[in-house]
């Protein structure tokens, strides 16, 4: 797939929760969203705006009540449960606010995990996990368990894990939310690096408008509907100006 091709296509997505009939509670009211290959897009919204629900649908963890969703050419509504598992495994790389590393399992094994579920051989996946950890600068800590790592280190391991099966899209849900600003900066720099050097499609979900300024496209969501879309000015900025934005963000 070349840059610019359609990666993510959501059409008129509705999501309702049934809290016992007839109390139907609709969270998403017809979301239309497309993301192209190689884009760095942010979804911004306050808590309760429905952005987490949207993220769950995009991440194939949940199915929409109504609407069509195509991810990298795969029709999500028609996929069976095990096909959704395979989809999450190969096409999506999750980065969570709370890191969600597997406890009592060292950094290397954590990164290997998605490759293990993909059925990759042991030697091959260990090599790749080491390579990925090197990219995020975690080589010297790869044999440490999560409880021996700082927040920033955990998130770097989590990013390496998200990259394990070379996913079509990285889905980062408040990745800097639990980190101090300096560490958050470092994490954002890793995303920029992945985006610019490897052309990764990244979807950043955040409540922070400042952070969203660092992306190509900003989608604002409120009360389950998309309020609007604006261009982030990241690409047009010189490196000095970028440094300025980064300062502001901090």
């Amino acid at each position: 797939m070349a840059a610019g091709d359609l990666m993510l296509d959501l059409r008129d997505i509705h999501k309702s929760f049934f809290i016992g009939t007839p109390n139907e509670f609709e969270v998403l009211h017809g979301i239309n969203l497309t993301v192209n290959q190689g884009e760095f897009v942010s979804i911004v919204g306050q808590s309760g705006s429905g952005k987490s629900t949207l993220m769950n649908i995009i991440g194939a963890l949940d199915r929409p009540t109504l609407g069509e969703y195509t991810l990298d050419g795969v029709d999500i509504e028609k996929a069976k449960d095990h096909e959704l598992s395979a989809l999450r495994n190969k096409k999506i790389g999750f980065v969570f606010q709370t890191y969600n590393l597997i406890a009592r399992t060292n950094a290397l094994k954590n990164v290997e995990l998605p490759m293990m579920y993909a059925g990759m051989g042991r030697g091959e996946r260990t090599d790749r996990a080491k390579m990925l950890l090197e990219e995020v600068g975690m080589t010297d800590r790869m044999h440490h368990n999560p409880d021996e790592l700082s927040g920033g280190q955990k998130q770097r391991v989590a990013i390496a894990r998200a990259m394990a099966n070379d996913p079509a899209i990285i889905l980062a849900d408040e990745p800097t939310g639990a980190l101090d600003s300096a560490t958050g900066r470092m994490i954002m720099d890793i995303f920029h690096k992945l985006h610019e050097e490897q052309g990764k499609t990244i979807l950043l979900i955040t409540h922070s408008p400042e952070l969203s300024q660092e992306t190509d496209r900003i989608i604002t969501i409120k009360d389950g509907t998309i309020l609007g879309e604006s261009k982030g000015n990241w690409k047009g900025l010189s490196s000095d100006e970028r440094a300025g934005v980064k300062k502001e963000v901090e």
Binding site: H82, R88, R104, L113
Partner: protein
């Protein structure tokens, strides 16, 4: 392979919380250990009994006179009653020498020895400060030959001793040690006086045999009661039973004879020839082989009953494992959510937790086996049997603990597999 990964993962999990893992396994450990211990003791007893009975002779037939069971006397439950009406055994009911002689003539090809013995009794030989405990038994020629004591000095009985019911005896080396301070040559030819229930019997020592202390009792001391052999008819004369018949005697069949089959032949022979007109008594023959068989079956049944009771603790142990698995799954809800987000299918989550449960149970099983073998061996040794571990019990135990792991692990594992990934991820 995913299974190998899961096993390693489960082992790492067990290691990370050793105390909890041990407590979880405890039920399985105790269950398996008690089953194995019981089976080890049972097996040791069976092996012991078998060897001893085998030593006595598998081609050993006991011919005895027993009460006829008639249908009127047997209730539906198989219990006998009305024995009061039965006349007690009389002289004419016994097996006579004539019967035996004609029987032996008929079946000489099948019989190696006809063992006849008569016990005079247990008594004491006293000579001043010296004393020895003896058991005075009269053996016929066949019995002496069959018993084959190791003669250290002197001779065994000769034909004249048997025929004339000579008052001669063969004593053990223990007896010589006690009564003659080990001087064998002084013992030979000497007369010994044995007091049995206030009666005194005198015999002349013609031989000394070596007391075999390897069987039955390992702790023989100077006070051990040893056998003092006298000729069969000497015993009968002294007991005034010389003209009586026999209530029972033992046949040793030749190696080529199928002793169980021959038992029927003997029974038929005596009953048709001599007991067809006897309303109350008949001859019945018990073979050692059938005795071994019924003994083994009996021990096996008791063992099985005990093992089943012990097996109940295995079920309790299994429930303990299930409980901990449920707790563990609740604790690790977020992990399960994360794994699902990373692409784990329901099947691989289920496999992970079943593997964990099986690993716990097998670890418990292995510890239990070791513990059970040690306990069982100690118990068997303490009870005086040589410990013999039942291999089949160990194989069954491993298979059983695996089955428990799968059975009690399935429900929690399935619960984990069916967790909604979103709710699991949100779980705090």
């Amino acid at each position: 392979m995913l299974i190998m990964e899961n096993v390693l993962l489960a082992l790492a999990g067990l290691k990370s919380n050793i105390m909890r893992s041990l407590l979880t396994m405890l039920g399985i450990i105790i269950g398996i250990a008690s089953v194995i211990a019981i089976m080890t003791v049972g097996n040791s007893i069976t092996v012991m009994v078998n060897t001893q009975m085998q030593e006595m002779g598998a081609n050993n037939l006991t011919v005895g006179v027993s009460a006829k069971s008639t249908s009127e006397e047997t209730t539906s439950s198989g219990l006998h009653f009305g024995a009061g009406n039965r006349r007690s055994m009389d002289t004419e009911d016994y097996i006579t020498d004539d019967m035996i002689d004609s029987f032996l003539e008929e079946y000489s090809d099948n019989i190696k020895y006809t063992l006849l013995s008569s016990t005079v009794g247990s008594g004491t030989a006293i000579d001043g400060d010296l004393y020895a405990y003896v058991n005075v038994v009269g053996y016929n020629e066949d019995y002496m030959e069959y018993n084959d004591p190791e003669i250290l000095a002197g001779r065994t009985f000769i034909e004249k001793d048997y025929e004339n019911a000579q008052k001669v005896c063969i004593v053990s080396n223990y007896f010589v040690n006690n009564m003659f301070e080990g001087d064998t040559s002084a013992a030979l030819g000497s007369a010994v006086e044995i007091s049995i229930n206030g009666k005194y019997y005198t015999y002349y020592i013609v031989g000394v045999y070596e007391y075999d202390d390897s069987t039955w009792s390992s702790d023989s001391t100077e006070d051990t009661t040893t056998d003092l052999y006298i000729p069969y008819d000497t015993a009968r004369t002294q007991l005034h039973t010389i003209n009586d018949g026999y209530e029972s005697f033992t046949l040793i069949t030749t190696i080529d004879t199928d002793s169980e089959e021959f038992a029927d032949t003997v029974e038929t022979y005596f009953n048709t020839m001599y007991y067809s007109n006897n309303d109350d008594y008949e001859v019945s023959v018990t073979s050692m082989a059938s005795m071994i068989e019924s003994m083994t079956t009996m021990i096996g049944t008791i063992e099985l009953a005990l093992a089943i009771i012990a097996g109940i603790s295995l079920v309790v142990g299994g429930i303990g494992v299930m409980n901990i698995m449920l707790v563990s799954i609740t604790e690790r809800t977020k992990e399960i959510g994360t794994r699902k987000a990373l692409g784990a299918t329901n099947g691989s989550i289920r496999l992970q937790f079943i593997t964990e449960s099986v690993v716990i149970c097998i670890m418990g099983g292995l510890i239990g086996i070791i513990l059970g073998v040690v306990l069982g061996s100690v118990a068997a040794t303490y009870m005086g049997y040589s410990a013999s571990v039942s291999i089949s019990a160990i194989i069954i135990a491993v298979a059983f603990s695996m089955a428990i792991g799968i059975f009690f692990g399935y429900y929690p594992a399935n619960k984990a597999a069916k967790l909604n990934p979103i709710e699991a991820l949100r779980y705090e």
